[in-house]
């Protein structure tokens, strides 16, 4: 089974990641656009590529560990590899409409 066959498990992983909030913005890291990639190979090894809202964020290690913990407890997951990147840098444009609405960010302010 390759990664493309893991669609339902990837969806469950993304759902699990939604239990992790960015403490400062108070919203889940998936809808804030902090998760760049989630893939799971046929051995059940999950790979998460994520970022933080700012370089050097003091919560970085907790967010990485939280992302790992949230997925590791899912059935079918053998291990989790969480990699941090700032390429590309996060920007508010990466948020979903729901997250923007929650934070009171208007569409026109994003430009």
């Amino acid at each position: 089974m390759n990664s493309s066959d893991q669609g339902p498990l990837i969806e469950r992983a993304r759902e699990a990641l939604r239990t992790v909030i960015d403490p400062e913005l108070g919203y889940n890291i998936v809808d804030l656009g902090l998760i760049y990639e989630v893939s799971i190979d046929d051995t059940g090894l999950a790979y998460v590529l994520m970022t933080t809202t700012t370089r050097g964020c003091p919560a970085t290690s907790y967010l990485q560990e939280g992302a790992r913990e949230s997925i590791a407890q899912l059935p079918g997951i053998a291990g989790v590899d969480v990699v941090l990147t700032h390429d590309p840098e996060w920007s508010p444009q990466k948020m979903t409409a729901e997250a923007r609405h929650y934070l009171g960010i208007e569409e026109e302010n994003l430009r």
Binding site: P23, S61, G66, I105
Partner: protein
Amino acid sequence: MSYFAAALVALLAAESLMAAGWGFPNAPIGAPATLLLVHLVVLGWLSLLLCGALFQFVPVLVAKPLYSARLPLPALILLLGGIIALLSGFLGLNGALTAKLPFFPLASVLLAAGFGLVLWNLGCTLWRARPLGLPARFVVVGLLGLAATVAIGITFALVLAGDTTTPTALRLFADGLPIHIIAGLGGWLSLTAMGVSYRLLAMFMLAPEPDRRSTRAVLQLGAWALGVAVLGGTTAILVRRGAALVFSAAGVLGLLTVVLYARDIVHLYQARKRRVLELNSRMAAAAVGSLLVAALLMVVLGSMGTLGRDAGAVVFLVVFGWLSGLGLAKLYKIVPFLTWLECYGPVLGKAPTPRVQDLVAEQRAGKWFGLYFLAVWAGTVALFLDSAWAFRAAAALLLVGTAGIVLQLVRARRLADVPASARFPGGSVRPPLVLSLTRSH
């Protein structure tokens, strides 16, 4: 957190002394009582606050861990010992302390060692993170200001103790006070606070950092103001020529720095993505506004030729409106944030966690901040009117406002405003009140 706790104790102690009528304006501006009060505020409160904040935020500014996580504690112990020795020295000058211990030399050694450790730790952290971004370069200039302030302060202390009578030291002691004040309030405290504020305000309000050319101009003007005051001022004093001109030039450069900085901050607030401002950002605006008013007052008083007479009022506005106001506003963000990391960081992903905002009650805290800033502005007016009783009344209000803010910080630390059902998810534990348990990233 230990730095912040010690700093807040010093602030409350200083405000209690002011409310009790200790020091200026009841005593002359150069009296030992005033010197004690001033150093309790700028060393005990502001410098400890800024050192504690820099140990947290220099790693954020440069995205690299602190050079040593162990040095801040011995540095704090040395600094506290130095501050107590220095204040004891002033009490001795005042005649209130009769013990004949060498307080000033002791204070010199302890403060030099304490600030030396701070400078070494932060300096190595910054050095390893080269090339530095603009906010971090503000901190570098601020740390140079700290080094200059401490060096001149030690010279003063040794002269006061009678341990040095070299002509250079005596000349500096006689005329070098403006260098000590400009390097301390302007270089160390203000430039560092400016650099950190650019990054923190942009982070908290989701604002793009301001136009780099403008920010670079603020840094360059600030660095020139500091350089002219310290190097030019020292030279002018030693050759006994042109000191007034040099300090005026530094003052003009400093004013331009403030005006450009205030323009940058206005731009930052206008460009923010997060439309609803949190209390810490609203109060930071009040602090920057106080700085701008102080700068305008300096221009007006300077042109009227009364700056010397009213310097106390302007310094009070800078210290309590700008530096302390910004410090308290940012503490209201930093303390809940660190508390969240300590309590809820370890259970993230294992259990639902509250937000940082759930640790605070902004509406309640807003009233205490409102009282604080009203008291600062009332105190400034009282000093202009030369009314000692009105100043004491304002200082009493300042003390009440500050105590209210400190109580809100303690409540955040104790998780008192988090609903009981959400307070300890997944086996999380309440952090100690004063010690900080965050891990490095």
